[in-house]
């Protein structure tokens, strides 16, 4: 039994609208230029997630040119509260602007590892690999995969070979500091966000391994 799956899956996710919200402009949302690793993880988790596995994103290839769009919506100021039913959205509204991406198309390269202590006796990496592959082929998912925000649905399918990034051959371009993921699992510590220096190299965002980001971040 292995604890690490070295199989790399390539998943194509695309959709008409996407918003990978920058944390500093969260109220009047502005998207990152490129899908963030945590958004990519969300897409994969929509297809297969068990407590026993943890996804790792290695690369996000950007197939379509970066295009923007913006719109305004009426949203609410409060978070949903369990057990509260007498809620009137009309009295709790905020008009919020969104600067989102149009017609995005990504190929996510990812793998997963087994989480020690969460695996059952008959769990092994092979089993989950096959499960994921089967579900991806059939288009099954636990919930609708989405691009950054729940309302921007993604079309997800296995990526065929020979897909070229839009900026292939154009060299390295800095994207600035990008949100990596939340750190959920340090016992006794509150959840905190982590960031990494992102670059688009020939149209591909290479995502550093988790250990490297956590090491390079806040001590």
């Amino acid at each position: 039994m292995t604890s690490t799956a070295d199989r790399r899956f390539r998943v194509r996710a695309r959709g008409p609208v996407a918003c990978f919200t920058r944390p500093e402009m969260k109220v009047e949302r502005v998207s990152y230029e490129v899908m963030t690793p945590s958004a990519a993880r969300g897409v994969l988790e929509a297809i297969l997630w068990k407590p026993a596995i943890r996804w790792h994103i290695h690369e996000i290839a950007v197939l379509a040119p970066v295009r923007w769009t913006s719109f305004r919506r009426n949203e609410v100021n409060s978070k949903a509260t369990v057990g509260k039913f007498d809620y009137a959205a009309d009295e709790d509204r905020a008009q919020r602007n969104t600067v989102a991406l149009r017609d995005v198309d990504y190929v996510i390269t990812a793998s997963f590892t087994l989480v020690p202590g969460k695996t059952g006796p008959e769990d092994n990496a092979r089993k989950f690999e096959d499960m994921f592959e089967r579900r991806l082929e059939r288009g099954q998912s636990f919930h609708a995969p989405y691009l950054g925000c729940r309302e921007f649905a993604a079309r997800v399918e296995p990526a065929e070979r020979g897909l070229l990034p839009h900026e292939s051959g154009q060299g390295r371009r800095p994207l600035g500091l990008m949100f990596y993921d939340f750190v959920f699992d340090v016992p006794g510590e509150p959840v905190r966000p982590e960031f990494f220096q992102a670059f688009l190299e020939d149209g591909v965002l290479r995502v550093p391994p988790r250990a490297q980001v956590l090491g390079g971040g806040v001590p």
């Binding site: 500093e24 969260k26 600067v99 966000p193 806040v218």
Partner: protein, 582 residues
């Protein structure tokens, strides 16, 4: 990337050199003696009636809270001034006294700490109510507004107390201590560790935002924060970086004598586009004068078209543009654009080329005038972000919003409301139609040919029909002179949408017009024949034209009409000049 670029801009232009001080117009020097007795209230107002700008210790953020400045503030804090009758607060202490107390507190601490005689003099003055009243008595009660900036000078000194080295050292230490109390984290903007700003300074002069300022980065409702993080922790940005990007934006948004925004363009009512480069300030002002010309700029352009937009050595530098809109207490980003200076110059040049039509001199047309020309007179009809989208498309060299085509055609179909601006309005509308058509998104098909002025070889049916319509209008004008409603007022819309329902009748009519118009009529009949020869003989008038073809129709109409005007200007025979006056 946007905040990083702004923060870099602030550092490069030296806006953050002195983060503890800000340059503000100081209205009065309060001169006191070394014992703290009031001597004189000295106005610093120059010829323009405004106070002299000088560095003062940065004022804290205030809304309804009480937060005093350091040795410099307005009379509410310095003199416990209150315009209205003082109200007693629930806590028992009057608000005006609480303000003075807050101001006095830091002065008292500094005086005790440094034993500086000037600071002690200020302390003594502030503690003495009779002396404070003397200052207020120096001016009429109506003259005080409560927002004058006051600083202190002691004895015969020429520099105010807050510039005194002891006091400065004290201010630096106090600010440092206060800052060190914050939480440290990796700063999202600089990528270095810093003390996180809990709340960010405010942006001023953003349209539709609160006049006291609005924040770009803020989290003011539970729905905006995540995972139990509060305020600034949702987006860790260091205090230096927060100050940097705000200073940069405020500098660009500042009002100047010529412009509403020093380095910004007003787009429609609610938003402003600011832009900056990693090149030089002169490059920026050049681009600005192209995108949003003032009268003086227009004159200069008439003399030297396109000069200065030639490829230069700075073309490789980064260019940034952001469109901001106010939303009460918050500022929203509507559009964000990052490119190279050279590319932007190219796109701006193409934008003006695309808009050029007829014989009017080539030159920039301010965006707001273009949009005003296609807006319904009520001011409604165009969605609020259409200006943002159009200008974004201009900078990126992308297709214009299709809405503009529909809007300009709508305006053309209605009879002109005001004769005086009619010709100019028509030009702007058709220019916009032409540019929109040229930039229509196409997949594979040949690009649409739309020329600047009359193209006699263009035999595309909508274009020719437009020309024909102009000839028919001209014939009617030549025959009937003064008319209340011309065929344009009555039939333009129908002719451009459903040519077959209108044109046969108009052609019949024109025969009568031609016989009435005499010499001029015979010439126009010949032109009519030439134009009609370009139409297919079996079905000269199609039943329906789509939006794009209606646009071409309008361009054809305009080209032919302008050609008539040019003809008159070149060889003005009295008969023709008279005929064209309709």
């Amino acid at each position: 990337m946007m905040l990083t670029a702004l923060n870099d801009f602030a550092r490069e232009r030296g806006l953050t050199d002195d983060p503890l001080y800000e340059v503000k117009p100081v209205d009065f020097f309060v001169r006191i003696s070394a014992k703290g007795k009031f001597v004189a209230l000295e106005s610093t107002a120059g010829e323009d009636g405004r106070g002299k700008p000088m560095p003062v210790p940065r004022l804290p953020q205030r809304s309804v809270n009480i937060a005093a400045g350091f040795f410099a503030d307005n009379p509410k804090y310095v003199l416990a001034y209150e315009k209205e009758e003082p109200k007693t607060k629930a806590g028992g202490v009057e608000k005006r006294l609480a303000r003075l107390e807050a101001f006095l507190k830091s002065v008292r601490e500094v005086a005790a700490e440094t034993k500086d005689p000037e600071a002690r003099a200020v302390e003594a003055f502030l503690a003495n109510e009779a002396e404070r009243r003397k200052v207020l008595a120096e001016r009429d009660a109506e003259e005080w507004t409560g927002s004058e900036m006051l600083v202190f000078v002691v004895g015969d000194a020429t520099t105010p107390v807050h510039q005194n080295p002891w006091v400065r050292a004290c201010w630096a230490r106090r600010s440092g201590e206060q800052r060190a109390q914050g939480r440290k984290a990796l700063c999202l903007v600089t990528g270095r560790e810093g003390v996180v700003a809990v709340t960010h300074p405010k942006l001023k002069n953003i349209p539709e935002a609160q006049s006291s300022g609005a924040a770009l980065v803020s989290f003011n409702a539970p729905a905006f924060s995540s995972h139990g993080l509060e305020q600034g922790d949702n987006a860790p940005i260091s205090q230096e970086a927060a100050l940097g990007y705000v200073l940069a934006l405020n500098d660009m948004l500042r009002r100047t004598e010529q412009r509403r925004f020093r380095q910004g363009i007003q787009l429609a009512d609610g938003s402003v586009m600011v832009f900056w480069t990693r090149a030089s300030a002169s490059e920026e002002s050049l681009l600005l004068s192209w995108a949003d010309p003032t009268e003086a700029d227009l004159q200069r352009f008439a003399e030297s078209p396109l000069r200065g937009l030639e490829p230069g050595k700075l073309d490789d530098r980064a260019f940034y543009a952001v469109t901001l809109a106010g939303n009460a207490g918050r500022v929203a980003v509507r559009d964000w654009f990052e490119s190279r200076v050279g590319e932007v110059k190219q796109n701006i040049r193409r934008y003006f080329e695309d808009l050029r039509i007829g014989n009017a001199p080539a030159g920039p047309i301010p965006v707001y005038r273009l949009l005003k020309a296609v807006e319904a007179p009520s001011g409604r009809g165009l969605s609020p972000d259409v200006a943002t989208r159009m200008f974004g498309a201009a900078l990126r060299g992308q297709p214009f919003p299709r809405q503009l085509l529909a809007a300009s055609l709508d305006r053309l179909r209605l009879p002109p409301s005001d004769e005086r601006f009619e010709r100019e309005q028509l030009r702007l509308r058709v220019a916009l139609i032409k540019a929109t058509l040229l930039r229509l998104p196409r997949s594979g098909t040949a690009p649409l040919e739309v020329t600047v002025s009359l193209d006699k070889s263009n035999d595309s049916q909508p274009y020719v029909l437009g020309r024909l319509f102009a000839v028919l209008e001209r014939l009617q004008g030549a025959a009937l002179k003064d008319l209340n409603a011309t065929i344009r007022d009555r039939y333009f819309g129908a002719a451009s949408r459903n040519p077959v329902t209108v044109f046969p009748r108009l052609i019949q009519l024109s025969v009568h017009h031609a016989s009435k118009a005499g010499e001029n009529g015979r010439w126009l009949e010949r032109v009519k024949g030439e134009v009609m020869a370009l139409l297919p003989s079996e079905s000269p008038f199609p039943p329906v034209l789509d939006l794009k073809d209606q646009g071409l129709f309008a361009v054809g109409y305009y080209h032919q009409r302008e050609a008539f005007f040019t003809k008159r200007e070149a060889t003005a025979t009295p008969a023709e000049a008279e005929a064209s006056s309709t």
